[in-house]
Symmetry: C3
Subunit: 107 residues, 3 copies
């Protein structure tokens, strides 16, 4: 199997944050992203600004340094005021080399 180890970052957020977060993912070095609509319930009190229960699930496949930047950015930007959930999984990506973004990686 020709696969590369990469990080899958899953971000669950209010729909109103979708385009802002995906723009930021691009700026932080992601070469693409995927979004699915969902619903859910979280810890009490966290959804003060959201339509209760409606969310988007944003996923990006990124190398470790980009993952670290994304996680740091999300924690610093959203975790105080928004009901954002983010978690990282280890995955083996088929032909994963295309997820490297040389321009951004040089920074």
């Amino acid at each position: 199997m020709h696969t590369s180890p990469l990080k899958l970052v899953t971000i669950i957020a209010e729909p109103v944050l979708e385009s802002r977060i995906t723009d930021e993912l691009r700026s932080l070095g992601a070469t693409g992203f995927s979004v699915v609509d969902g619903r859910g319930e979280g810890s009490r009190g966290l959804h003060a600004t959201a339509v209760p229960g409606v969310n988007v699930r944003i996923e990006v496949l990124v190398p470790e340094p980009v993952c670290a930047r994304i996680v740091e950015h999300l924690a610093a930007t959203y975790f105080t005021s928004y009901a954002v959930i983010a978690y990282v999984s280890e995955v083996a990506v088929v032909r994963g080399e295309k997820y490297l973004n040389p321009t951004k990686e040089q920074r």
Copy 2:
């Protein structure tokens, strides 16, 4: 990266089971859950009671002891009579400490 290792439990079930299962997840110690609508096909004969092909994908982030309770509960309650699929992944959750449910954990 300020992350905590947690278990991501994914449950794929008939839509009619959604609220029953999410209520049970709460009782078993989950602090929240996320749901996405999907479709699919499983092993032949398993979908006797379901609208063929329509399902919900329920996800919860939980610490290990809650994961074990959920898995045990699902296997005991649904696996004989329902087309329920459940699997567990290891994930690193940003600010994962909020997924601990002190009240439930003391039980």
Copy 3:
């Protein structure tokens, strides 16, 4: 916990490829699959033949040999001409033995 280690293969593709890919997954030994509708953006230039941004996320739980066949098949069949993304995660499946397909495994 009565779980079995299996591979979760996630395939993100143009909707027009859904039934073709799921048929192929069956032929390659998968006993079922699950599909969710999504949207996204990928590397520039890859989406020439797709409705921009609309995709399907196809998931299969399979043992290692079936996973290897699926990954090989996808890479050989789709990666040159289509915007197909595929990645593999390690998961622990509750009562995972039902995902073994004895007929196909004997091949």
